[in-house]
């Protein structure tokens, strides 16, 4: 969290200084090595003048930061969760019924199509990011195509995904602030009643990152994919087409980092940290025991509506 804040501040600082023209990030040497001043045309073409805004920022970030930050996030998040797993361990709930159907069939199908698209998109994105260690060429090129195919799948599932969960994913101030305060109970070995509705704040973060971030990724990715397009709006914003591509690449990388971090988190939670979590997305059922602790508000709501009864034995 601290890292993220620091990182955002640094980036904003860099943006501001570059845009205001204070700092040339990359010194583009157009002159000859010796006595070369005469070789720079007195009137450079306009696109080159604009280069100092977005072109240099893109070069600076791509040369110094993107690959590094992706590596830090990829390794850092995995290490943090590995430590969490060793120290705190998994949460184990009594998976026997009584159970509640939390994810009806349609939701599960949508989830797994979205999951497929992410499994195609994220590793191939990383392959491109670290392409030089893989030698480039056909393998990375094919990954680029798979990245695009995964995106088409994600676009298909995007609206259903939004539609099925948007209501349950709306933030609830009371639950979510308390969830953040206790970090979802994940730093506690014992079962604690976590204030959360059908979805915890952690799940909500992931959902909104996938929806809002995903939307940004689609738009910026499409800009880079199609590359040649002409939008009248651009000239009004004093942007060249190539500047839009540069902004797209920068945004795509930063949002990609955030999605990567939460994607790993989601994998860790569903595959390791909460036993039976994966099963619940296959069968659609969650045990009342799990709901009572991880989704306590939802549990209480089901109680008052009479869908479940309180005389439930918690055999360990």
């Amino acid at each position: 969290m601290k890292k993220t804040v620091l990182f955002i501040l640094m980036t904003l600082g860099a943006y501001a200084r570059v845009i205001s023209g204070q700092v040339p990030l990359v010194q583009t040497d157009l002159s000859a090595s010796k006595g070369g001043d005469l070789l720079v045309s007195s009137q450079m073409i306009q696109n080159i003048l604009h280069y100092q805004t977005w072109g240099e920022l893109f070069v600076y970030l791509q040369v110094h930061w993107f690959r590094l930050l992706f590596a830090v996030i990829l390794i850092g998040v995995i290490v943090v969760f590995a430590i969490h797993y060793l120290i705190i361990g998994a949460k184990v709930f009594n998976e026997n019924c009584p159970c509640v159907l939390v994810y009806p069939l349609f939701q599960r199908v949508v989830h797994w199509i979205a999951a497929l698209s992410f499994v195609l998109i994220i590793p191939t994105g990383l392959i491109m990011e670290f392409g030089k260690y893989l030698g480039g060429g056909e393998f990375v090129r094919i990954s680029r195509h798979i990245h695009a195919i995964g995106t088409v799948i994600f676009i298909i599932v995007f609206i259903p995904l939004f539609y099925i969960w948007v209501r349950a994913m709306l933030l609830s101030f009371r639950d979510d602030t308390r969830w953040i305060y206790m970090l979802g109970g994940y730093l506690n070995k014992k079962h604690v009643k976590v204030p959360a509705g059908k979805f915890t704040f952690g799940q909500k973060m992931w959902f909104w990152m996938a929806i809002l971030g995903g939307f940004v990724m689609i738009v910026t990715g499409a800009a880079m994919y199609f590359q040649n397009f002409d939008i009248a709006l651009l000239s009004k914003l004093h942007l060249d087409q190539v500047d839009l591509l540069r902004i797209s690449a920068i945004t795509h990388n930063f949002v990609g980092m955030a999605i990567l971090a939460l994607f790993i988190t989601h994998l860790y939670m569903s595959l390791f940290a909460i036993k039976g979590s994966l099963q619940s997305m296959i069968t659609g059922f969650k045990s009342v025991h799990e709901l009572k602790y991880l989704h306590h508000s939802y549990y209480r709501k089901l109680l008052t509506k009479g869908f479940i009864s309180e005389d439930y034995e918690e055999d360990k």
């Binding site: 040497d29 000859a32 045309s41 073409i45 060429g137 590359q227 690449a249």
Partner: protein, 199 residues
């Protein structure tokens, strides 16, 4: 011993927007339609005294930003400063285009999905990493005129010799001589105008 540092320079006071360089380039390297390794641009069109044309291609930068940003490191810079890339490593991501101040990288359509293929750009007629003057080199990168001791085809064809290419120092000397022989740096009126008509 100092090595030559190859550079392009287009003298915009001589360029007459004839497009000879870009046509010569496209024909010599048998480029597909839509790929312009070199193009002539006219700026301030119609603005009296300010209009000029210049020929743009890869400038073979000293600190080539394309080489710096390439995620698969497909670029290499020769000792004489010519910036080249390996099309077998390139993945066609387009980052070099975003990094380039001159819009040099070109992307032909791939046949796979009709998507963007690997990058193509001016090689200063120096081919690529394949064996010099091999069929593979010619197919991927076009002619290797430098290896044959020839001037890049664009500059060779330039009818007004606006487009200069060669060692940076030589190019600089030629241009300096031209400026000196003109008598003054920026000429805002046709020669003889002030003699004939006063101010």
């Amino acid at each position: 011993m100092s090595y030559a540092r190859m550079k392009f320079y287009c003298d915009d006071r001589r360029c007459i927007d004839c497009d000879g360089c870009s046509v010569a380039c496209a024909e010599a390297h048998e480029l597909p339609v839509g790929i312009s390794r070199r193009k002539v641009v006219t700026l301030n069109e119609g603005v009296e005294g300010k209009e000029f044309s210049t020929s743009m291609a890869c400038m073979h930068c000293t600190d080539a930003p394309c080489e710096q940003v390439c995620p698969v490191d497909c670029f290499y810079i020769r000792e004489d400063g010519i910036v080249l890339h390996d099309k077998n490593i390139c993945i066609g991501c387009g980052y070099c285009l975003y990094a380039c101040p001159f819009g040099a990288p070109q992307f032909p359509e791939d046949n796979a999905f009709g998507t963007r293929g690997v990058m193509d750009k001016c090689t200063m007629c120096a081919g690529g990493p394949e064996p010099t003057n091999s069929a593979a080199e010619r197919k991927l990168y076009g002619q290797n005129r430098i290896a044959e001791g020839k001037v890049p085809v664009c500059a060779a064809m330039c009818s007004t010799k606006a487009l200069l290419v060669g060692d940076g120092e030589d190019v600089s000397n030629i241009y300096r001589q031209r400026v000196a022989s003109r008598g003054h740096g920026v000429q805002s009126r046709p020669y003889g105008w002030s003699t004939a008509y006063g101010r």
